[in-house]
Subunit: 390 residues, 2 copies
């Protein structure tokens, strides 16, 4: 059990009708706001107008950058950072899902330097000394970007999708109104839920044990997603379901459950290459990869953790045959992803070709062997990709 | 499900050998430190010397107030506040358990006003506009004061024990090193554990439902205390047990699990009168009161929550006879307090006399009927006290 520092000061307004606090929160940072968002969905749902009303009411000066992509691209970050400099922006307000918030994070950091923002993510790994304050209004429960220090940016020119953690990227304030996710489609709800589950499992399946309390929390969050994702898909405006998914998305990845664990994540780098090469939805890629990764890592020495998972999350009856219990847990997770949530269950269905496996695997472990639950070198990752074919 | 604001910016250094960060953290607030602590235990365990070494290394100026009582008294608060004014203190460093941290909170607030600090707690309920920054080093897992906005102060002159929540009272930084609780006696470990359990049950048993995710967390924390309190009593230097109890103590009461619930707490005001009249250990009083309170509140309309508790926390087999399952859960909790932890199971054993019940009950609901899981007026509270006699 390692020591750790817990330091997550993001202030969260959770629930309906909290937007009246937006103006006051923004004003704490200054008067010039860059509003960033993706496509037109926030206009259709009325959120855009509501945000503008609050900004106007607070007497703030507004600048806008729309069109942030899913798997947000470095080009958008460059544009946003440039706008911040030109217009002397005080605070970046991201309205959207994880992609929009991730882009806002590197826009906010890019605004404070003279170099290309990609230098933060490319081999130069430029230091992030500061960033403009970031405020977010979340519209998709998935990545947890609303309450964490991470952001992932894609550079199609170099076929790279790279993430980075930095305290300067942590949103100061986030508005989590479950009703803002009522319009999320069943498919995106499923992908977001798979993303949340993956975040938890990346920490849960670790080579070192940490606090039992946190294992209980992780199992609770997994049960929450398993209980409510199907409800939210069937009844998009079920507040209880949307609220549970939303708060779980934040706590799955804000660092709380990680505590002193130091191992690397596995499924995320393996999946990032899928998105980088094929621009597929992150959560879908994770759903396909995760059960295969679990199967690949399973061995006598770590079977107890799988048993714990199967019993505590899926209610599998414990038995002497631990391997059977473990495999049942993996099977039930796969069933959840592919039957309950209805996600595509293999690479063939989504057009990912085996000829790219060596290149993707090489990039996934470009930083060296992935020292996760089980160490994974390029050959291991290729095997996991192969398991995903059908 | 109500809206809520989550805003808990306390930074926590968790684990062994984190004290090297103390000087830097204190320096952020200034150079003049008031160190507060209780009896000599922190000297015996070597923590006092370790703290002084860090303060000296950081070149800070030190002032000391020792002798903070369990159930800390307003007299100590007055002395501390006066010292802060006289010595122009910049930051209050509390080293100890909940009592020491609670006292530090009102010392820090009292330092910023001209009036008697008791005015914050007496009928005048003077506003708390600000307080000096508070840093804590925890030595007892129990009250959660290290990460919450609450403090409870006793005034024996008026036979009052009064608590108050205020954001200005939230510690800025807390050091949670489980090894600092290795010297906590089995009895105090038991009382602290009962306190943690009570904090959770006060929220868990609520008239309104909130997030399922948080119910899972609460059940996880209850299981954690039930698993590790007996271990810590038998093996005082079991790091895993102490660490689990410590982190649970903070999360049981920092506001996270409360989310949008607005009901009043019940057992705490009922118990506070025991401590105010008899100066008994808070956790012991809670252990005696809690199962009786649960029994008193149980009815057909709320039996499902008891069943959930019995099944998910104690693994009771669900059955058609919900009342039987519910009562089994209460019985197992009582067994845990009185058999596993070995705490006294009734008032007679600890010298609390029935002649005081009317006065204690009247004071417990001095602010009106306690609108908790089940509304409790004076007569209800007297009945609960009566159930505690034997």
């Amino acid at each position: 059990m390692n020591k750790f520092v817990y330091d997550i000061p993001t202030k969260v307004y959770f629930g309906r009708e909290q937007l009246s606090h937006l103006g006051d929160e923004l004003k704490k940072f200054g008067s010039r706001v860059l509003l960033t968002y993706g496509g037109g969905s926030i206009k259709k749902m009325g959120l855009y107008d509501a945000v503008l009303k609050e900004i106007e009411k607070a007497g703030l000066e507004l600048f806008e950058l729309s069109g942030i992509e899913p798997n947000p691209r470095i080009e958008s970050v460059r544009t946003g950072a440039q706008m911040c400099k030109e217009h002397k922006i005080d605070v970046v307000l991201a309205v959207g899902g994880g992609s929009t918030i991730d882009a806002a994070k590197f826009i906010a950091a890019g605004a404070c330097v003279d170099h290309d923002p990609w230098d933060f993510l490319s081999k130069t790994w430029a230091p992030i000394h500061k960033a403009l304050p970031i405020v977010s209004i979340l519209t998709l429960s998935a990545t947890g970007s609303e309450m964490d220090t991470a952001a992932v940016i894609t550079n199609f020119a170099t076929q790279e999708k790279i993430g980075r953690l930095d305290r300067n990227l942590l949103p100061r304030v986030s508005f989590l109104d479950p009703t803002n996710t009522f319009t999320v489609s069943p498919y995106q709800t499923a992908c977001g839920s798979a993303d949340i589950i993956s975040h938890i499992l990346e920490v849960y399946f670790a080579p070192e044990q940490d606090l039992y309390m946190l294992d209980c929390f992780m199992e609770g969050m997994l049960k929450t997603v398993i209980k409510y994702a199907p409800v939210a898909m069937k009844e998009p405006d079920n507040y209880e379901a949307r609220a549970n998914l939303m708060w779980t998305s934040s706590w799955a990845i804000n660092g709380f459950i990680t505590a002193g664990k130091r191992h690397a994540w596995s499924c995320h780098p393996i999946e990032h290459e899928l998105s980088a090469f094929y621009d597929i939805t992150h959560g879908l890629g994770l759903a396909i990869v995760t059960p295969r990764w679990m199967e690949y890592c399973l061995e006598e020495s770590n079977v107890d953790k799988y048993v714990q998972f199967a019993v505590n999350v899926f209610g599998v009856e414990p038995s002497q045959d631990k391997m059977a219990v473990a495999k049942k847990g993996i099977e039930l997770l796969a069933n959840f992803f592919f039957e309950t949530l209805g996600l595509d269950d293999n690479f063939t269905k989504i057009g990912i070709k085996s000829e790219d496996f060596p290149a993707m695997a090489r990039k996934a472990c470009a930083g060296g062997v992935i020292s996760g639950f089980k160490p994974l070198a390029q050959a291991d990752i290729e095997k996991i990709y192969q398991m995903c074919v059908e």
